[in-house]
């Protein structure tokens, strides 16, 4: 166990940048097409798919960015020893 904790894990800088860029690009696309988005996302009925799928998309890519960012900053969960 000790060996695994003393080995410094490589920090995920590349993943942070990749997911960050993807997320930022998605934000830019959405906010530069604000009018189309607000209009079509609030049509109701079947159009409910738009906001739900968008929310899922951001939860994956922006969530992955957040996870990698915290690791890159050295914020990791406490390693507990397995019994």
């Amino acid at each position: 166990m000790m060996a695994s904790t003393s080995v410094t894990k490589k920090k995920p800088y590349l993943q942070t940048i990749l997911f960050g860029a993807l997320s930022l690009a998605s934000y830019i696309v959405l906010f530069t097409h604000e009018e189309w988005v607000t209009d079509n996302f609030t049509r109701g009925g079947y159009y409910v798919v738009y906001p739900i799928v968008t929310a899922f998309w951001f939860s994956f890519i922006h969530g992955a960015f957040g996870s990698n960012l915290l690791s890159a900053l050295g914020l990791e969960a406490k390693v507990t020893k397995k019994k």
């Binding site: 000790m2 904790t5 003393s6 934000y27 959405l30 906010f31 604000e34 988005v37 607000t38 209009d39 996302f41 609030t42 049509r43 109701g44 009925g45 159009y47 409910v48 738009y50 906001p51 739900i52 968008t54 929310a55 899922f56 951001f58 939860s59 922006h62 969530g63 957040g66 996870s67 960012l69 915290l70 914020l75 990791e76 969960a77 406490k78 507990t80």
Partner: protein, 443 residues
């Protein structure tokens, strides 16, 4: 006995399900329309309105409270309709999509970050402060609730994933609670509608605030006492005497929850989920009963209960978002602005739990609940005045109470942020010291 018990349980589920169908979903009420005003006739008190779901413009009568001079043309609005004296009037008009200034951007992102941290740490939170914050920025109430709901499930998904990786989520307990909670929501909505019909808006507001204050003070006070007791001894939690008794009730079907390490009758978990849902429909924060319920009634640890609550929030949030989305009320821009920081906050809160003991989670939860109770309590005199039960409040008193109400919410979020950060930093420093000590020992 076993067959009888299972039959009664099935009946209970069927009755709940049929109530759910009749209640017609937990989404918004149907007395509104969306669209654009094309022309306003100030003299006649009418306006030509193009509804989004119709091809032909119609003429709407404007209610007494609507200022015809303030109606902006060619901007998407939400119109509340009211039937009066044989005709349908537009009783309230709100602009659907507010222009987002830099300060609004920043406000939403800051609230999102701390709300996310709270969520990751105690399993729920954020919603109670996000909706009022959005409304104070000028977002119509229904849009604020809908956009907030749509931000809740992606955040809960990411939080669940993280805490599942830390081995804290009891998936089975979460799913059982979530699905029984959905039925609870339906009944809660029916009760709300009945109260709204009988006593109007002020009566409904008073009911919501009273439930809020009573539940938060009683449950929050209990959790707080427990947290302080544990903190004094820096002890790990023990299973509550009530949960131990209930676990001994051998009424089939029995359910085994592996991660929580509990074997308990479905007769305990299903009504608890149901109550969580009912409360969620009433005060919009089901976690305030769900988490203490899982701790003190089911017998799970605060760590597992708060993690499992995230799964419940995910299921209920997705379901709720679909309901609100079907009515087209989600402003995705608001949702995504909050998500931009809350998806990071929720992971920070989640990893924070790995550095603290159970009582830290209870302490944060209880503090938040008690401060939020003050916020809601400050609203009660106003509603009592509206109902004519006490003399109407003066303008000065009303504005002081509004001030207390809003800032108590901000204080709740701030306090939570400070306790979580402090607990996490202390925990991390302690872990580093231990690691270093171990490393020197090995050398």
């Amino acid at each position: 006995m076993r067959i009888f018990s299972a039959l009664v349980l099935t009946l209970f589920i069927l009755v709940s399900a049929s109530t759910a169908v009749f209640a017609g979903g937990g989404g918004p009420s149907k007395n509104f329309t969306k669209g654009v005003f094309l022309e306003v006739d100030k003299v006649a008190g009418t306006a030509v309105f193009q509804a989004s779901d119709s091809d032909v413009p119609e003429t709407l009568m404007l209610g007494e409270d609507v200022d015809a001079g303030k109606i902006s043309l060619d901007q998407k609005v939400m119109v509340t309709l009211q039937e009066k004296e044989g005709g349908v009037y537009a009783s309230n008009i709100e602009i659907m999509f507010l222009d987002l200034s830099v300060s609004k951007f920043i406000t939403l992102m800051v609230v999102g970050l701390v709300g996310g941290m709270l969520s990751g740490f105690i399993g729920s939170g954020g919603a109670f402060v996000l909706t009022p914050s959005m409304m104070s920025l000028g977002v119509p109430g229904a849009i604020a609730v809908a956009s907030n709901m749509c931000h809740k499930f992606p955040k809960a998904l990411v939080g669940t994933y993280k805490r599942y990786k830390y081995g804290q989520v009891d998936v089975k307990l979460g799913l059982v609670m979530a699905f029984s909670a959905i039925f609870g929501v339906q009944v809660g909505v029916t009760v709300q509608k009945a109260i709204l019909n009988a006593w109007g808006n002020a009566g409904s507001n008073l009911y919501v605030s009273l439930v809020f204050v009573v539940v938060l003070v009683v449950v929050g006070g209990y959790v707080f006492r427990d947290a302080i007791r544990l903190a004094k001894h820096d002890a790990d939690d023990k299973i509550s005497p009530l949960a131990l008794k209930l676990q001994q009730l051998n009424i089939p079907p029995m359910m085994h929850f592996k991660t929580a390490g509990v074997r308990i009758s479905a007769w305990v978990t299903l009504p608890l989920g149901f109550a969580t849902g009912m409360l969620a429909a009433t005060i919009a924060v089901g976690g305030f009963i769900g988490v203490p319920g899982m701790i003190y009634v089911v017998g799970a640890s605060a760590m597992v209960a708060s993690a499992t609550e995230l799964l419940i929030a995910f299921v209920m949030g997705t379901w709720g978002s679909i309901q609100w989305g079907l009515s087209g009320l989600i402003d995705i821009r608001l949702t995504l602005l909050i998500l931009s920081t809350s998806l990071i906050g929720v992971q920070l809160g989640a990893l924070g739990t790995t550095y603290v003991k159970d009582y830290a989670i209870k302490l944060v939860m209880a503090s938040v609940m008690l401060i939020v109770a003050i916020s809601r309590g400050a609203k009660i005199p106003g509603y009592l005045g509206d109902l004519g039960l006490i003399a109407p409040l003066g303008t000065a008193t009303a504005s002081v109470l509004d001030f207390i109400s809003f800032w108590a919410l901000v204080a709740a979020l701030g306090t939570a942020g400070v306790i979580i950060t402090a607990a996490m930093v202390t925990g991390m420093m302690k872990a580093r010291r231990e690691e270093k000590a171990l490393a020197t020992e090995e050398v």
